[in-house]
């Protein structure tokens, strides 16, 4: 995969522990990764259907987001795990994956916490406090992704 080549570059040796990661770097990284994946998709499969292309583009968007966020965030790790697992299962021999569901009791969480857990990737294993933190960074990355997507479309429509 093309992504592996730049995996070392994204791993930040000094991770910022605060809630506000340095987004300037990740924005450009995100853009670059998405661009690359996008062109790969275009060049690799010109005859595939729109549905397949849409799905692969969406996967590329999430992958670029997760790759830009790096391994510091639980949701980025979960996204990468999910994508990696998807690739492996489809290509190589099928191995039965037994997922052990561990029931964790949580003290007095609001009702919407489960909904939020289903939305944020990797949210099932976190307590409410960390879930909120992950939601914050996830929202930041998603909004950056949406802004970039809008710019792309504007460019494609109005290249001049």
């Amino acid at each position: 995969m093309h992504f592996n080549k730049c995996s070392e570059a994204t791993r930040n040796p000094n991770p910022t522990p605060d809630l506000n990661p340095n987004l300037n770097v990740s924005k450009t990284m995100q853009a670059a990764y998405f661009l690359r994946a996008f062109t790969v998709i275009n060049s690799a499969s010109p005859t595939s259907s729109t549905m397949q292309r849409r799905r692969s583009i969406r996967r590329a968007a999430y992958a670029s987001m997760a790759r830009a966020a790096g391994n510091r965030r639980a949701w980025s790790r979960a996204v990468l795990r999910r994508l990696h697992r998807g690739v492996c299962l489809s290509s190589s021999a099928r191995r039965v994956v037994i997922r052990r569901r561990i029931r964790v009791s949580r003290p007095r969480e609001p009702g919407q916490a489960d909904v939020l857990r289903s939305l944020v990737p990797g949210g099932k294993a976190m307590d409410f406090c960390n879930l909120l933190e992950e939601t914050a960074t996830y929202i930041q990355c998603l909004s950056a992704q949406v802004r970039r997507g809008r710019k792309d479309i504007r460019w494609v429509y109005y290249p001049g």
């Binding site: 062109t39 009702g111 939305l119």
Partner: protein
């Protein structure tokens, strides 16, 4: 009364300064009296509690003494208390064993809190100090030991370890909710966790739908992008990571993680364009511009170098956008096979 006022009005010029002084002096004497009251209160409290209090079980909470010593105005008020209670001890969230100090600690601390509050209601100076003091509590207590979080019970709140842990957790959650409130647009008026959570959920769902919609749009309009720039983009990413690393003070990345594969084209490129000079100076690293030169030479073949430089500047300003490709790729209808 009127006589006094008349006399004061006649000699206003001289009396104003005098009146200010008198007010100040009055405040000072009042504070002193307050402190004396405090002395007496402490003494009385200690006496009464010594006779009344009975030792409890091993899960008593012990509080820090040093905080009281730091208050300058109350300094004189506390020494007798500190001598009574023995060595300063900090509470542990998971404390199992009690220390060997006197068992009067927690109760006397509560009483002291109450007297503190009474004085706070009266004097403004001490009130400011006390508010600082209470804000400092948790911060200072949390910096002492790494494995436990030290919390102090406030006045009127339960001192149980479970409730304290609950309170810490609640405060963390509320801090994060406030941060999320800044992130999600239009949440300023909503108060309460439930409403906020609903808004957050809606926002995340809408963002995800937007990403889906945009990807669908990008998928349908693909055939226009008629170039294969895979390797080019690889180089671009490498240069961006390098330039991001080199830009001083912004990012703390180390330059050792530079991918060496990007230098494989350096041998083929020797000539340095004069238009690249400013870029080279900006990047401060002699090995970085090689791939940029390569890219530049690629575009020179098609006669679009000036646009390229301008757009590279955009990238180095961290304002990356797709406009970078506009002038070069689509307008010239390039097909680049590298």
């Amino acid at each position: 009364m009127l006589h006094c006022m008349a006399s004061s009005s006649t000699s206003t010029s001289t009396s104003t300064s005098f009146s200010y002084l008198s007010v100040f002096e009055r405040q000072k004497t009042w504070l002193k009296s307050q402190q004396q009251q405090q002395h007496q209160a402490n003494y009385l409290i200690n006496e009464s509690l010594n006779s009344l209090y009975q030792p409890s079980d091993s899960h008593t909470m012990h509080y820090q003494q040093e905080h009281y010593d730091q208050l300058p105005s109350l300094n004189s008020g506390w020494p007798d208390l500190s001598s009574l209670t023995g060595d300063p001890v900090s509470k542990k969230r998971k404390a199992e064993t009690s220390r060997s100090s006197s068992p009067n600690n927690n109760v006397t601390e509560e009483e002291c809190n109450k007297t503190e509050k009474r004085i706070k209601g009266n004097a403004e100076i001490t009130a400011a100090l006390l508010s600082n003091h209470q804000d400092k509590k948790i911060k200072e207590s949390s910096t002492q030991k790494s494995d436990y979080i030290h919390v102090r019970a406030r006045r009127g709140q339960a001192t149980d370890s479970h409730s304290l842990a609950e309170r810490v957790r609640r405060e963390k959650i509320s801090a994060r909710m406030r941060y999320l409130q800044d992130l999600v647009p239009g949440c300023n008026r909503i108060t309460g966790k439930a409403g906020m959570l609903d808004e957050i959920i809606n926002y995340v769902q809408s963002l995800q739908k937007q990403v889906e919609f945009l990807s669908m749009k990008l998928a349908t309009m693909n055939p226009r992008l008629d170039f294969s720039v895979g390797n080019l983009i690889d180089k671009e990413i490498n240069t961006m990571t390098m330039s991001n690393m080199i830009l001083p003070g912004i990012i703390g990345m180390s330059s050792e993680v530079v991918d060496p594969s990007c230098f494989q084209f350096s041998s083929s490129q020797h000539g340095m364009n004069s238009s690249n000079a400013d870029l080279l100076q900006r990047t401060e690293n002699s090995s970085v511009p090689m791939p940029e030169q390569f890219l530049d030479s690629c575009f020179n073949i098609h006669g679009a170098s000036s646009n390229w430089n301008a757009d590279l500047n955009c990238i180095h300003d961290l304002g990356y956008s797709f406009q970078f490709y506009q002038g070069n790729v689509i307008a010239n209808n390039l097909k680049m096979d590298i």
